[in-house]
């Protein structure tokens, strides 16, 4: 009783009436903990008006017990000492909400998983510990605050950023569920990297044939609005209600273009085609590739010489140089980011001399794909860029820009092994006389049919050398390249004479992702890719509610994985929209502006970026805040506090728990 008086003194203002219910959980708790003693002890705690024990608190009878006690004793807080908060916390919270209390006024104390089950041999101490935990629970319950649940109306529309394979899949699946989709693509056509490929592993299928049903379906879908040649220039708001500005560069060709191609045939400007990775030529008026969607031509104004021949030639007068940059403001409920990857530029690795004059016969895998494509300059033949000769010896180098600490990429891209195996096989199939070497560190072929594909390639006679080449040197005398590599199995330095070298360059985060990431306020890993919310359980959610990620922007992926993640992201984006509203329990951070020094540490600390700088002070975005509390220790003046996890509230609990419990009486 002495203790009670003392505690009352510490909490002079509290008028709360607390009910404590201690559960036997059959034998589970009662066999170890003296539940009656715990319930009796609870009666001595300040503000406890009612305390009892019961066989099964979660049974119907137990629930009725809580409800009746709340009504009879006019309880304002309940504490149930039983199992974990995740197991039956919601059950009891619902019970008190049925008799008119806010469900957040329930405090769950775990004396089963954290006590009786783990201290089965020590009944006395386990009982003492249970008393302490109940005391902590009562302390905590005393200061619990009501938390409101807010219904947030949302906009039924989804923005998909990136028209590659992952974005297309996500857009298609979202649109099919009846939700409007805005698809934004930076290039003039959708399709992404997949359309650049010649064949896909492990079936050597034509990628164009696989993807075009999807591109067509998306482009003609009634629920899809397509923005090509466009970027996302600003994003405001939070889950359910984002306002997005899309900036569209003019194509200078109107949509009545019939894609006849007359304009390109008269255009005098010839440029290396980006889509062909420099392996083809385009005009200043062009479309990305023959099957491009939308098929409307586009003018490259930077390189256009204003000769006007295309304007004269166009049979439908579609070319109009007066078109201007336009901005479109849209409202969406969720955003899917699927901006894909970029091929690593190997010129950073000086020893390989990529792009150096005299080393024209070093190409990357994507360039190889473009050269072998049916519409390429070489007509699908493998020819040396320097002299157009068919190479006799081809060396493929793996892990260029990946698994390499020197260039800052420690990760394995994961797809280049299969990529190289596929292309080596294709060379052997097309030119059986050639010698193809793959210099690798490890060959990684996880997944169904991948290892089989590797074996098949070995059978074709491709030679695998385990070692990372140290240097590529030009040998003008023999008109070839010398690749220096140590075969680590034989521990033997080798000098390979190559007519053509293909670099398996890594997949890296695209250059623009930093800017986009800041506009969306998403966190990125040190590799530059956008980070998923949880590496195992939530690979498609980003650090911010309502924004999802799909495909290679999250990390290197092959087509299969990207498509799967696209679908998964679509489900995530749609699921919060179908109801038309979201319900959020407002356990969120609150700022006391009397204490706030406007230092912005909370803004820096907040990983979901839910604290914004508005009118000279930090403001918590109530919808975006997840209530994690990372901002709390960041605040030097304890101005920012999370409801029900306030410093004082935690302190009440710590005070009770930190006291040592007594050892067995002697």
């Amino acid at each position: 009783m002495v203790e009670k008086e003392k505690d009352k003194k510490n909490n002079p203002k509290s008028n709360e009436r607390i009910g404590v219910f201690v559960c036997h959980c059959g034998h589970n708790i009662a066999d170890v903990v003296d539940v009656k003693a715990v319930a009796e002890y609870a009666k001595t705690l300040p503000n406890v008006e009612f305390s009892t024990d019961n066989m099964f608190m979660c049974s119907k009878q137990g629930i009725e017990l809580i409800k009746n006690a709340v009504k009879e004793y006019n309880l304002t807080r309940t504490v149930v000492a039983s199992c974990s908060k995740t197991q039956h916390g919601p059950t009891f919270a619902r019970a008190i909400s049925e008799v008119g209390l806010n469900k957040h006024l329930h405090q769950q104390v775990n004396i089963r998983e954290h006590d009786s089950w783990v201290h089965q041999k020590d009944h006395v101490e386990a009982t003492e510990k249970a008393k302490q935990l109940v005391k902590a629970g009562v302390n905590r319950a005393r200061t619990l605050e009501e938390v409101r649940t807010q219904k947030i109306q949302i906009t039924k529309a989804v923005l998909v950023i990136g028209g590659g394979i992952a974005g297309l899949r996500a857009a298609r699946d979202t649109a099919d569920s009846g939700i409007p989709v805005y698809l934004v693509e930076r290039e003039s056509s959708i399709g992404g990297h997949m359309t650049q490929l010649n064949k896909t592993f492990p079936t050597n299928e034509c990628p164009q044939c696989s993807i075009s049903p999807l591109t067509n379906a998306v482009a003609t879908h009634e629920n899809v609005t397509l923005f090509t040649n466009s970027i996302v220039s600003s994003v405001d708001g939070s889950i359910g209600n984002f306002t997005v500005t899309i900036t569209t560069k003019p194509r200078y060709v109107k949509s009545n273009c019939t894609s006849c191609g007359e304009c390109a045939s008269v255009c005098p400007v010839e440029l290396p085609a980006e889509w062909d990775s420099g392996m083809g030529i385009r005009k200043a008026i062009y479309k990305l590739y023959p099957q491009a969607i939308p098929s409307t031509f586009v003018v490259d104004r930077k390189n256009c010489i204003d000769c006007g021949r295309c304007v004269e030639t166009c049979p439908v007068n579609a070319i109009d140089f007066s078109l201007k940059k336009s901005k479109t403001k849209i409202k969406v409920g969720s955003i899917i980011v699927a901006t894909g990857y970029e091929e690593y530029d190997p010129s950073e690795i000086e020893a390989y001399h990529y792009k150096i004059p005299g080393y024209e016969n070093i190409i990357t895998q994507l360039q190889f794909e473009r050269m072998m494509g049916p519409t390429s300059l070489t007509g699908g033949q493998l020819l040396r860029p320097s002299d157009g000769r068919i190479p006799k010896n081809v060396v493929i180098i793996q892990c260029v820009g990946s698994r390499n600490e020197l260039v800052g990429n420690e990760y394995c891209t994961g797809v280049c092994c299969m990529f190289a195996i596929k292309n080596a096989g294709i060379i052997k199939d097309t030119y059986p006389d050639s010698n193809v070497y793959i210099c690798y560190i490890d060959i990684r072929t996880p997944g169904l049919y991948y290892e089989e594909y590797y074996k098949a390639c070995q059978k074709k006679g491709v030679l695998f050398i385990r070692g990372r080449p140290s240097e590529i040197e030009a040998d003008p005398e023999n008109d070839c390249l010398k690749v220096y590599v140590e075969d680590t199995f034989m521990a033997e330095p080798m000098e390979l004479h190559a007519d053509l070298v293909i670099l398996s360059a890594a997949m890296v985060a695209p250059k623009g992702v930093g800017l986009l990431g800041s506009r969306l306020q998403l966190l990125r890993g040190k590799e530059g890719f956008i980070k998923e919310f949880h590496i195992k359980m939530d690979p498609t959610r980003s650090s911010r509610d309502g924004i999802f990620i799909a495909g290679a922007i999250q990390g290197p992926k092959d087509i299969t994985q990207s498509v799967a993640q696209g679908s998964a992201a679509a489900v995530g984006a749609v699921s919060s929209l179908v109801k038309g509203y979201i319900e959020k329990e407002m356990i969120i951070a609150k700022i006391d502006y009397d204490l706030c020094t406007k230092c912005r540490a909370c803004i820096t600390a907040c990983s979901p970026s839910a604290i914004l700088w508005e009118n000279g002070k930090p403001v918590v975005n109530e919808v975006g805040c997840k209530g994690c509390g990372i901002c709390m220790p960041a605040c030097p003046t304890h101005a920012i506090q999370v409801i029900n996890y306030r410093e004082e509230q935690l302190r009440d609990e710590i005070e009770a728990v930190a006291h040592p419990i007594l050892e067995k009486g002697v």
Partner: protein, 139 residues
């Protein structure tokens, strides 16, 4: 009745992996010392030096912060943010001439109870060392 106080450890465990692992340990009936007492917090990132010092002030011999594995924080990076603070506070405790073994941070995996129990055993072992070196805060 003669009584004596025993070791006293406060573990701040996050509501996700930390609590998950402790609950899994309970379900599997793994046994550990009664001196381990768990406080549920939303995220390891919520536990600041203030909470840790509060625990010491109220009688804790050793304090630990237990969160999700790195890269797997359910609130993104709370465990990492917490780690630096713990390191800094450890440094403070060391500079005051006490053992830094009385403050630790661990990770746990919700599906594996032994991660939590392993953490607890490690805490007690370190506390034992600290007591031997007279490095605990209580005289």
């Amino acid at each position: 009745m003669e009584t004596k106080t025993k070791k006293n450890v406060v573990c701040f465990m996050c509501a996700e992996c930390g609590q998950g692992a402790a609950n899994t340990a309970g379900v599997a009936r793994m046994q550990y010392d009664t001196s381990i007492k768990i406080i549920r917090v939303k995220c390891a990132g919520q536990v600041g030096p203030i909470q840790i010092m509060d625990a010491y002030k109220n009688g804790a011999d050793s304090v630990a912060v237990i969160g999700c594995c790195f890269g797997a924080c359910h609130f993104f990076n709370g465990n990492l943010v917490s780690l630096r603070r713990v390191k800094l506070l450890k440094k403070f405790i060391k500079e005051m001439g006490y053992s830094e073994l009385i403050l630790n941070q661990y990770t746990a995996r919700a599906a594996e109870g032994e991660t939590a129990v392993g953490d607890f055993e490690d805490i007690l072992e370190k506390l034992k060392q600290a007591i031997e070196n007279k490095g605990v805060l209580k005289q």
